[in-house]
């Protein structure tokens, strides 16, 4: 049994913090949320000193959950909060990184957790106005949020004079219209202002001049959901989870050729293998792990070797292995799957999603797609592999935002580890016998079941006021 392994001495116990209400059937309603301690933390901070709240978030070591892992408290610290302009809080719910689906499920199952986190963050940042910039395709989470917002207003948790205090906070839900690039924070702000979602030059950074040129905090959904827990349980508790430099719980989205794909919460620093073996019951039958990405398609892929060496999922270890934590969207693929097809698939994605602002990205992704397509179609030329590296070298770090770098990741990293597959394709005009471009339907998917390996609620009692 996989369970008995200690994963090279790195074994972790599962946690249930952000997902602790996922097993409560009515957690998405106000009644369900209040019954499980909801809005108690907000109540407790109504008179709190905003600076103290910000200090707690800073001391907790919370790092942004949207990809870059920048310390949230430090980011907040850059904002001029007492200037003449209003301060905005914008929640980045434009989740589109391929393989990422944590924010969707968090919002579907526990929308009030986001609202409470926003109201508390609003208090910390002296902001009276929050926006949820939601991916347009996320209609169902949007409906859940709409209802939660309406309920929270009715109950006095949002709006003017929250719970009889002098604290005001309004939330506007804003559906986007389908553009991956809007997950980039300045592109997001452009979209929110009714413009094309193209990134802006920085500086100025949103913390100084963001939405409507006012100081703006742009934070990921999961980041904001951590805030109530930090304020309630304290910094020491928070830092007791995860690693020193990557503290806290994390929701990992595992997909691809595993038995049970899904969102699973573990401490930062849990071995990737433990997550996949224990939460997902390993790979599908007769499929062995060949390559995987730790944080969405924009992060360089890793191999079975990293996995079996028990690489841990935290910023330091993943970076040391040459990849990035990204959104912690772990996509696992087997020895039957072509890594070149994966690279093509993702390249087409970036080609489609390039906003067109910078030439290297706009044109380069188009060329890369064509070259990969012809290699896979059996028309590859020996020089094509060098052209690929040449083109990615011309794109990497030469565009305005990180989308272009993300587009290079799958190609550069697959060439690094699986150059032989490219060479075989060019030489023989087809894939090796045991590899398919894409495997057939998988019908034995039990993705909706929640894992058994989940800890009980951290604290079944309502939060202390």
């Amino acid at each position: 049994m996989a369970d008995r392994s200690d994963y090279g001495g790195k074994r972790q116990e599962p946690v249930s913090v952000l997902t602790s209400r996922w097993d409560v059937p009515d957690a998405h309603t106000l009644a369900g949320y209040e019954r499980t301690g909801g809005y108690q933390v907000l109540r407790s901070v109504l008179d709190a000193d905003p600076a103290h709240l910000r200090q707690q978030v800073k001391d907790s070591g919370l790092r942004g959950r949207g990809g870059a892992g920048f310390p949230t408290g430090v980011k907040w610290g850059f904002m001029p909060l007492d200037g003449p302009k209003p301060v905005y809080l914008v929640v980045n719910a434009d989740e589109g990184e391929p393989g990422t689906f944590k924010d969707r499920e968090l919002m579907e199952r526990d929308p009030h957790q986001l609202l409470e986190g926003m109201a508390i963050s609003g208090r910390a940042l002296k902001s009276k106005r929050g926006f949820i910039f939601l991916r347009g395709e996320y209609l169902w989470p949007g409906i859940r949020l709409e209802e939660a917002i309406a309920e929270a207003y009715d109950a006095g948790y949002l709006g003017a004079g929250i719970m009889g205090s002098d604290l005001d906070f309004d939330i506007t839900l804003h559906y986007a219209a389908g553009a991956y690039i809007c997950g980039e924070e300045t592109a997001l702000l452009n979209a929110l202002e009714g413009r094309r979602g193209q990134p802006r030059l920085r500086p100025p950074f949103p913390a100084i001049a963001g939405a409507y040129a006012a100081p703006t905090a742009v934070n990921n959904v999961e980041t904001i959901m951590n805030v109530p827990w930090i304020i309630e349980r304290g910094v020491d508790w928070y830092r007791s989870i995860g690693t020193e430099k990557s503290p806290g719980p994390k929701v990992f989205c595992v997909s691809g050729e595993v038995q049970r794909p899904g969102n699973y919460e573990w401490p930062m620093g849990t071995p990737a293998k433990q997550i996949v073996e224990e939460s997902c019951l390993g790979m599908l039958p007769e499929r062995e792990l060949k390559f995987w990405v730790p944080g969405g398609s924009s992060t360089p892929l890793l191999t079975a070797e990293h996995y079996h060496d028990n690489i841990t999922m935290d910023f330091e270890s993943i970076q040391a292995a040459g990849s990035l934590m990204g959104t912690t969207a772990m996509m696992m693929y087997s020895h039957r799957t072509s890594v070149v097809d994966a690279a093509l698939n993702w390249t087409r994605f970036y080609e489609h999603e390039s906003c067109g602002k910078c030439t290297p990205c706009r044109e380069g992704t188009f060329w890369l797609g064509q070259i990969l397509q012809r290699i896979l179609d059996g028309d590859g030329r020996p020089e094509d592999i060098d052209i690929l590296t040449d083109v990615t070298a011309g794109i990497f770090q030469r565009a305005f935002c990180a989308l272009a770098d993300g587009a290079c990741s799958p190609i550069d990293s697959s060439l690094k580890y699986f150059r032989d597959e490219y060479e075989y394709l060019v030489e023989h005009g087809r894939l090796p016998d045991h590899i398919e471009r894409h495997a057939g339907p998988v019908t034995q998917n039990s993705g909706h079941l929640r894992p058994n390996h989940r800890a009980p609620l951290y604290d079944p009692e309502p939060a202390k006021v």
Partner: protein, 286 residues
């Protein structure tokens, strides 16, 4: 043109934001709700409402995938073909449906029932392969299952999606995407949710607090971009007080995360050194 009722709704949307132009994306959803696509009339109307030129509105409208420039059918069927769906059979699903409907990507069936498309990652990879009908997701599809789904949708016997509601059609869904809650003709179905919130059926409440710069849009100017070495040093110091190394944070954010506060000159535009961080340098959240 907008009906008078819709005009009123449009004005509600405009009033919801600190500046009018922020309502443009919702307004375009509203146009699709009335016309089933971005009609020329609708574009004109948005331009008038927001005091923009038609070209400005078109520039925005053509940027986003969810805005269609040809009339959509009653339902929009999207098949996710990103890789986690593909390795579980999404391409077969797409091919079978394309054959069955006799249309390709972004085309509408002759009878006007379905508009068909392949979509980028729909963020539902645990249920791969995913087919969405008007953005409500049906998980773990097989080619045969997807075919049956479309038959049921076409005959008005729509099964409940894995997540969400039976779709009332793309136009009514667009009403929701405009931020106006369920379409008036669709209110009763609110009860399918298991609970309802008041009479508005869950529509976002009006904004009450008066905050934000009113009317005039302030533009981000180069004035704001000035930055000194001192500011950068201060930013680096702040990262250190959080127990982290600025260089490490930058590296972990991704090789080109110019949002991190520590990059001195380098690959970005001149003077690209930040004084503020970012939540998502490398892997975009969206």
């Amino acid at each position: 043109m907008f009906s008078s009722e819709l005009r009123e709704k449009a004005e509600t949307l405009v009033g919801r934001y600190p500046i009018a132009r922020s309502a443009l994306l919702p307004l375009l959803h509203l146009v699709q709700s009335q016309d089933g696509y971005l009609s020329d009339d609708g574009i004109t109307e948005c331009a008038e409402l927001l005091d923009l030129t038609k070209a400005e509105v078109m520039a925005v409208a053509t940027f986003y995938t969810m805005y269609k420039r040809e009339p959509m059918g009653r339902h929009l069927v999207s098949v996710c073909t990103n890789f986690s769906c593909k390795v579980r059979g999404a391409q077969d699903v797409y091919d079978r449906l394309a054959e069955r409907l006799g249309v390709g990507h972004n085309q509408t069936t002759e009878d006007g029932t379905f508009t068909f498309e392949h979509a980028e990652c729909l963020g539902n990879c645990e249920g791969a392969p995913v087919v969405s009908v008007d953005y409500f997701n049906y998980e773990c599809m097989t080619p045969a299952g997807a075919e049956q789904l479309l038959d049921q949708v076409a005959s008005g016997d729509m099964p409940l999606p894995t997540r969400g509601l039976r779709s009332p059609g793309i136009r009514m869904v667009s009403h929701r995407l405009a931020g106006l809650g369920p379409h008036p003709d669709d209110i009763d179905r609110g009860h399918e949710l298991g609970f309802a919130t008041g009479t508005d059926g869950g529509a976002p409440p009006p904004v009450t607090s008066e905050v934000g710069p009113q009317a005039e849009m302030e533009v981000v100017t180069s004035e704001l971009a000035r930055e000194s070495d001192g500011q950068r040093a201060e930013a680096e110091q702040q990262v250190r007080t959080a127990g982290l190394e600025p260089e490490e944070v930058e590296e972990q954010a991704g090789p080109d995360a110019r949002e991190s506060p520590t990059r001195g000159g380098g690959s970005g535009a001149p003077g690209t050194t930040a004084d503020a961080g970012d939540d998502h340098g490398k892997a975009h959240d969206g």
